[in-house]
């Protein structure tokens, strides 16, 4: 019998940490930029934020495909049922938000009449026609989704650290890029 759970695949680990980087860049950027006065700096930061969002969305698509075709390592047998359910629900919600947040940003851009052009080069189709009311609604929705994400990420990171430093089990190291052994 195995004493330690099997790790995630290298691809899953790389996608997890890359997306973590993207979200830790795009989230504070989004929080900061929306209060800026209209200026070249604001226009630049909005563009960078959108480019990050499109890139993150592509990684999320890859990640969902990978996750759908590769079973994650099983949780240790001693994991309490409540923790299994809580972990499963939290992970599912994180996936939903990772998809919904970039999409809502893209739709918001279309409704606001500012097309998303990836890296200033590749135009993404506008999925919605320009509409101020819809644009304002999507902006509020995008913000709500992101506050929800921040809240869930606190739980996600908190749970990971709890496993690492309180439970001292192998749950966290399954997603670490380096092996503990």
């Amino acid at each position: 019998m195995r004493t330690s759970p099997e790790k995630y695949t290298t691809t899953a680990i790389v996608l997890h940490w890359l997306l973590a980087l993207f979200f830790f860049a795009a989230l504070p950027l989004g929080l900061y930029m929306h209060d800026l006065p209209f200026s070249p700096a604001r226009l630049h930061l909005y563009s960078y934020h959108k480019w990050l969002g499109v890139s993150a969305f592509l990684l999320v698509v890859l990640r969902v495909l990978w996750r759908a075709t590769h079973r994650p390592p099983a949780l240790p047998q001693w994991t309490p049922a409540m923790q299994k359910i809580a972990g499963g629900v939290l992970h599912a919600l994180l996936y939903v938000l990772m998809i919904a947040i970039p999409l809502s940003g893209w739709l918001m851009s279309s409704a606001k009449g500012v097309q998303t052009v990836w890296f200033g080069v590749l135009p993404l189709p506008d999925l919605l026609a320009k509409d101020k009311v819809l644009g304002d609604f999507l902006a509020a929705f995008h913000r709500l989704l992101n506050y929800t994400l921040i809240f869930l990420l606190l739980g996600h990171v908190g749970a990971a650290l709890k496993h690492r430093f309180f439970d001292r089990d192998e749950i966290f190291s399954r997603m670490l890029p380096w092996s503990r052994r």
Binding site: F38, S39, P40, R42, L43, H44, Y46, S47, K112, G113, V114, Q115, T116, V117, G120, V121, P123, K132
Partner: protein, 189 residues
Amino acid sequence: MKFFRLILPLCLLPAIPASAVEYNQLQVGESSVAFGYRQMGVPMEGRFARFSAQLSFDPVRIAAAQARIQVNLASIDTGSLDANDEIQGKKWFNTKTYPEAVFVSSGLKSLGGNRYQASGKLSLKGKTFDVLAPVTFQSSGNRGVFDGAFNIKRLDYAIGEGEWTDVATVADEVRIRFHLVVNAVAAKK
């Protein structure tokens, strides 16, 4: 007699269009003055809600054609709500001091068919430059439609000063497009 019944109307027919038709009544509601530009590589579309024009155009006497077009700059929609307040300010149009843009034609030449080239002077924010614009003209009955477009460089007119002179943020080139519906009245003899 049969000869005259055929010939008489034919003789009279050219007499009707020969009384020159002058297109000179701008139909503001059906016309538009719009523009396109790039902001961070993103194509943006804007328009002006208020403008007026004094035009006279007779397809058989194009040398006499004249146009003066005034655009109310405060009526701008830049395509982005964020930008609409900013653009009224001193760094952009400075609409308090320079409320309108004026185009005054200096000539029109035929490029064959329904295509023409209009030349004139565009005054904006206290600066005046020559512009050339290809124009097409289409008419049905007494309704004439002019369509044309030309490019200007916003920095020529000091549109966007200070930090806004950065053309990587807002491109220098702005494409102005006009669609003018102009009705005709028979010219006075």
